[in-house]
Symmetry: C2
Subunit: 181 residues, 2 copies
């Protein structure tokens, strides 16, 4: 559902090909939304069918032709309507939390190992986010309006990473007190 709206949001800024969007979902918007290229290409065609997007084929030699998409007026209208409707707040599904429920019933060693892996990932991610903030978002109130929301999503990313790294410490200590089976 909302993948299409995420795509339209990206297209507010500029026209994109599927390939470029796939990269966009790996970096910028990838902070809180992942999509594979297969999914994106499918979705783009569906959206073009509904006339939310218009497509222009760009001939190339050697490589496959590109298809560049832009948002239509109907698409923008759909997006505006979507923003009016409240999104449902669904909890983030996280396999690792399920694993924690198993502590005491299953061996804790692999869980601790995975916690350490996650810590490394979170540390890296936090660094990336902080670097972006320090480079482009030092004065939030001075940003153009179109950047303010993006800044706020970045702050969610930073805050989450900081929290998880904090929690990690407590988790490691407590899991250390679990008797091996």
């Amino acid at each position: 559902m909302a993948l299409s709206h995420a795509i339209m949001t990206a297209l507010l800024e500029d026209d994109f090909t599927g390939y470029e969007l796939a990269k966009y979902f790996d970096t910028s918007m990838g902070f809180f939304w992942r999509a594979s290229h297969q999914q994106i290409y499918q979705e783009l065609r569906k959206m073009a069918d509904k006339e939310w997007l218009s497509a222009r084929v760009i001939e190339q030699q050697g490589k496959p032709n590109k298809v560049r998409y832009s948002l239509t007026a109907a698409g923008k209208e759909t997006l505006d309507q979507w923003i009016l409707a409240a999104a449902k707040l669904q909890p983030a599904k996280d396999d690792f939390m399920i694993k924690l429920y198993n502590v005491g019933h299953c061996d804790v060693t692999p869980i601790l190992a995975e916690l350490n892996e996650r810590q490394k990932t979170w540390e890296k991610q936090l660094e990336i986010y902080q670097r972006i903030r320090d480079k482009h978002y030092t004065k939030p109130k001075a940003l153009p309006d179109t950047q303010k929301g993006i800044y706020l999503t970045l702050m969610v990313g930073i805050g989450q990473m900081e929290f998880y790294l904090q929690w990690c410490k407590e988790a490691r200590v407590l899991l250390g007190t679990v008797k091996p089976l």
Copy 2:
């Protein structure tokens, strides 16, 4: 995929019917995993087919018969193996973050309204979590091993709510500086 493992994790503690599991996913495990009854009933039948679960039909009059499921040895083995494999860390998809990207392109009013709605929800949720902590989890190290992981998931819930409420303040101020279209 992981819904089946979440179900098996629940069944580590006790046998359950689909109906009871649906409630379980609305409360306890619902902090980080939601599933509708339709999905749960389907999944239970699939799992019984694979012999990860065994089913016992309990005849009732007036009401439909219950089916009570228990974890088999094969199911437990599957669960143990699953814990060994690292879960992939995928970001939580959140529609509201997409909406924030639209600030400056679309009217900010409904976004601010939704932020306020979310704040209320987060406040309520935080209270619920805190009450659970204060009632059952005041001394984490004194808990039985089987409760320690659950405590840690609860702390994730509390930490997330606290962070979002904090972030909410900054978000409201910054969104207040956005010029209306």
